[in-house]
Amino acid sequence: MTRGDKVVLGAVVVLALAVFGYQGMRFRLMPPAQEAQVVVEVKGEVVETHPLKDLKAGGQWQVKGPLGYSVYEGGDNRVRMVSSPCPDKVCVKRGWISASGEAIICVPNQVVIHVEGHQEDEEGPDALTQ
């Protein structure tokens, strides 16, 4: 291999890395349009994320908060809390949520389940007043 070949080879590698890095940055800043996500938080920390459509209707999942297990259920592109160790059950009474920005909030057990759309998605609002 001549020196020129090495230069070309090195240049191709650098170019590939540059393109890769650029795509990575692009991806981080502007992920492609995607469907709504269900985000589950305990004490303000995200513990689980599921695409909303992947929560099977009737399927139940549990998440542990300071008081015990909160149980949520999926159903036809929506999600609800079905049981909770909290005294007032505000979270269970909240019923189904499906739209970006909607949230089920259990203050006593410090569990939040909310639906996040994507920023590029023109349909979903940036926040929801309720």
């Binding site: 540059a18 940055m25 303000g44 019923g95 926040a127």
Partner: protein
């Protein structure tokens, strides 16, 4: 050999151009140029709800910390549930003596009294005895009998809350009275958070205090914010009622769906009409769009209690305030200023008259 070197040079040039283009791409993401990639999102439990601040830019991390700490401070001052808070101490001293308050609590009580006067008591910050009696959203919620309602209602009267600006004190004249800032403190705290974020150089942020929204500045991509208004009956037409195109606005909603129970087919919710001692029946949901969140918080409750006619007339007389009201029949009514920003997105199938 020479040709290879030439190819190498061309490729190197291409790479340099490629990298610099990538740099531009990052910068054009927002209004402030290079500072735009950074998003900070923090959530905390306070004020009996969840507060989330999402802020953009290099100033965001420190500013969000500070804003949340300030909101927690306000929450601690104004909780009616906590006997050690300022409001707790004021309530405990009812019928006994005036209590010296912080500038924050005093200022908010004064604002509440201003709107009590303006709404002829439709907003009444001394509503605490009714809140305690009904216990809505608590374990002991129930429908009290008429005698108990009358007894609690007799203790609700904003005129018997005396404020003295010289000593910065508040005094509840009769034992058993109580102040509840549940309809104003979240708004006040959000205003403080907005102020801190702005002072620290944040140009783009969303403060969500349990559904009270402060949309600071514009979206980081330079476009206006799009804030949804929740549909009070999501089974009729989907979860979002309307989209508000917003630049530096606060949006506060009072609805009969937030905290409630249903008994005998009747919905009992957490917004009381001081006149009847029962949950207010004139509205289903009220959203206020304004530039001051404490004001918006108070007005959303006041308009909810007053209902479409008196409520919207009140708002139309105020500067920089718009209102979207859903009637008990699920009609949507808006003030002229709101109409310019609000697009109804509720799916059809229910009444959607938009008179006014």
């Amino acid at each position: 050999m020479r040709r290879n070197r030439l190819i190498g040079l061309v490729l190197t040039a291409l790479i340099v151009v490629g990298i610099s283009l990538a740099g531009c791409r990052v910068q054009e993401r927002g209004p402030g140029g290079a500072q735009t990639a950074l998003e900070v999102k923090r959530t905390e439990f306070m004020m009996d709800t969840v507060v989330t601040i999402t802020a953009y830019g290099e100033a965001a991390p420190a500013a969000v910390e500070e804003a949340l700490a300030e909101m927690a401070r306000i929450a601690d001052l104004m909780s009616a549930e906590d006997p050690g808070s300022e409001v707790g101490r004021l309530n405990a001293a009812a019928g006994q003596q005036p209590v010296v308050l912080s500038a924050d609590t005093y200022e908010l009580l004064a604002l509440a009294q201003h709107y009590a006067e303006l709404t002829d008591g439709a907003f009444d910050v001394t509503v605490r005895p009714l809140v305690e009696l009904w216990g809505i959203g608590k374990k002991n919620e129930y429908v009290p009998d008429k005698a108990r309602i009358a007894k609690a209602q007799a203790l609700v009267n904003w005129r018997d809350l005396v404020l003295d600006p010289d000593t910065r004190t508040a005094y509840l004249k009769r034992p058993g009275m109580g102040v509840d800032l549940g309809g104003a403190a979240k708004g006040y705290a959000a205003d403080r958070a907005r102020q801190i974020l702005a002072e620290r150089g944040v140009e783009s942020a969303l403060i969500d205090a349990g559904g009270n929204i402060w949309a600071l500045g514009r979206h980081p991509e330079g476009k206006p914010w799009r804030i949804g208004i929740k549909n009070p009956r999501p089974d009729h037409g989907g979860s979002v009622l309307a989209i508000v195109t917003s630049e530096d606005d606060t949006l506060v909603t009072s609805g009969d769906y937030e905290r409630y129970f249903i008994k005998g087919g009747v919905r009992y919710h957490h917004i009381f009409n001081p006149r009847t001692g029962e949950p207010a029946r004139a509205s289903m949901a009220v959203t206020i769009i304004a530039k001051n969140s404490a004001q918006a918080d108070i007005l959303s409750t006041a308009v909810f209690v007053l209902g479409p006619d008196k409520g919207l007339a009140l708002v139309e007389g105020l500067k920089d305030v718009g209102c979207v009201l859903v009637t008990p029949n699920e009609e949507i009514i808006m003030t002229p200023s709101a109409k310019q920003k609000v697009e109804i997105v509720r799916e059809e199938g229910v009444a959607s008259d938009t008179r006014r």
